[in-house]
């Protein structure tokens, strides 16, 4: 019995260096993608509250397509589907970043839209009355207030995107889950390795959850 336990720990310890590499990849893809997604979310979020019908329609179509299809389909579409009919070729890493970005971006559109709409209309009016343009009022007055309110939702999207990266294992990106799979396909210790993979995801995600709650509490105070 004791031997079995020490055995388990040994398997886990040996797997750690490879898994940590995988974890690095997971975090790297998530961070790059979220940064891109923030830009997408802001731009399309502004589209979605614009007076221009065309811009609003573009934003609605984008959000609905992304939210209405599984992310796994999106991954295969970018990595295999599009190259099948065009000359566009993406490395697995690029495809992964593209999919996580446009996927998280679509959800961030809604977060930006709700955040901006939550700011009292009088703020925009006060800014415009002083002589600021729409863009200046957005940048100087509306967004600083809105982004503060959006922070907990951002962190939640961060968490969702981290979990989504595990699906990138299907196109062979050496992220955390893929690293685990490559280890247990060699040593057949699937239980130990997957347990460890789960623990590593959990530690990161739970830390972010605590951070998000802390942010929410701080927002309440101010």
């Amino acid at each position: 019995m004791l031997e079995a336990i020490t055995d388990t720990f040994e398997v886990m310890r040996d797997a750690m260096p490879v898994l940590m590499k995988g974890l690095q990849m997971t975090v790297l893809i998530t961070i790059i993608s979220l940064l891109i997604a923030l830009v997408i979310g802001l731009v399309f979020g502004l589209f979605s509250i614009s007076k221009n019908k065309v811009l609003r329609a573009i934003s609605t179509v984008y959000v609905n397509i992304i939210r209405g299809t599984p992310i796994l389909v999106q991954i295969l579409y970018i990595y295999i589907g599009i190259p099948a009919v065009t000359d566009l070729r993406f490395s697995a890493f690029a495809a992964g970043v593209i999919v996580i970005s446009i996927n998280a971006g679509a959800y961030l559109v809604e977060i930006f839209r709700a955040g901006i709409n939550s700011i009292d209309k009088g703020q925009m009016e006060a800014g415009r009355t002083l002589g600021f343009s729409y863009g200046e009022t957005m940048r100087i007055i509306i967004l600083p207030q809105a982004i503060k309110r959006m922070l907990p939702a951002f962190v939640n999207q961060f968490i969702v995107s981290i979990k989504d990266t595990s699906l990138l294992s299907v196109i062979g990106i050496g992220e955390l889950l893929m690293s685990g799979q490559s280890i247990y396909s060699a040593n057949f210790k699937a239980f130990e390795i997957l347990t460890l993979v789960g623990i590593l995801y959990f530690i990161i995600i739970y830390t972010l959850t605590l951070f998000s709650r802390w942010l929410e509490r701080r927002m309440d105070v101010s």
């Binding site: 009292d120 009088g122 703020q123 009016e125 006060a126 800014g127 415009r128 009355t129 002083l130 002589g131 600021f132 343009s133 200046e136 100087i140 007055i141 600083p144 207030q145 503060k148």
Partner: protein, 240 residues
């Protein structure tokens, strides 16, 4: 100073302003009174195009601000506005609320802007609140800060949209005092208000609006003591 010709405004099918013609002379203080729903706030908000007029023309110092060729942002710098709900920027200190626009729109240095800001705060009696955030001010203090913010752009005209309607009664006096000082200094002002005593004391001219029309206008004595129209009489008998 302000010339409004055949101003019309509809929200969908609802016609809020039907045919408004007004002239405001330099240094004149005009108070607009009337029952709620009479269109007086919409009228005021059309003057700086917070509401887009659906017809007519508005001239500010001979420039037609309803003409899309004219830069509305530049024109609004000459038109200060004070809101019923103050609309201070909660993420900025009181001083930054005042200096944000002059710094960014007029390119005034931080140091000079702060100097101007402090002078304005002194003027409205809030010099000790410069570093405070708006949430920590009382309603009356907020409104005085909002007046200082509007003045920081050195407007030629000040528009007031029911500036005391959201205030506790004991706060109203301080705000009205600041407005009286402004009037004495010769500021051109258009004030939508329910404060009849203030209108009588400060206004050069009172406009009574009802149903999207100007029903009657004249100097305060005439409107308050000797109204000509039935609707003016009925309204005043309810509020005085």
């Amino acid at each position: 100073m302000i010339k409004i010709e055949n101003l019309k405004k509809s929200f969908g099918k609802l016609e809020v302003l039907k045919d408004i013609n007004v002239k405001v002379e330099p240094q004149e203080v005009v108070c607009v009174i009337g029952p709620s729903g009479s269109g007086k706030s919409t009228f005021l908000r059309c003057i700086n195009r917070l509401e887009e007029p659906t017809g007519g023309a508005i001239f500010i110092e001979d420039t037609n601000i309803t003409d899309p060729k004219n830069n509305i942002n530049k024109m609004r710098q000459k038109l200060g506005m004070v809101f019923q709900q103050f609309n201070l920027f909660p993420h900025m200190t009181v001083l930054n609320n005042i200096t944000a626009a002059p710094k960014r729109l007029k390119g005034i240095s931080e140091e000079d802007a702060n100097k101007i800001g402090m002078q304005l705060l002194e003027k409205v009696g809030l010099e000790d609140k410069a570093k405070v955030y708006p949430d920590n001010l009382s309603g009356g203090q907020k409104q005085r800060a909002a007046i200082a913010r509007a003045l920081a752009m050195e407007p030629n005209i000040m528009l007031f949209d029911e500036p005391t309607s959201a205030l506790d009664p004991e706060m109203v006096g301080d705000v009205l005092e600041v407005m009286k000082d402004l009037a004495k200094e010769g500021m051109t002002m258009v004030i939508v208000t329910h404060e009849m005593g203030f209108a009588r004391e400060v206004a050069d001219r009172v406009i009574f609006m009802d149903g999207g029309y100007i029903v009657e206008e004249g100097d305060p004595e005439q409107i308050f003591d000797n109204p000509q129209h039935e609707r003016t009489k009925a309204f005043l008998s309810k509020v005085l």
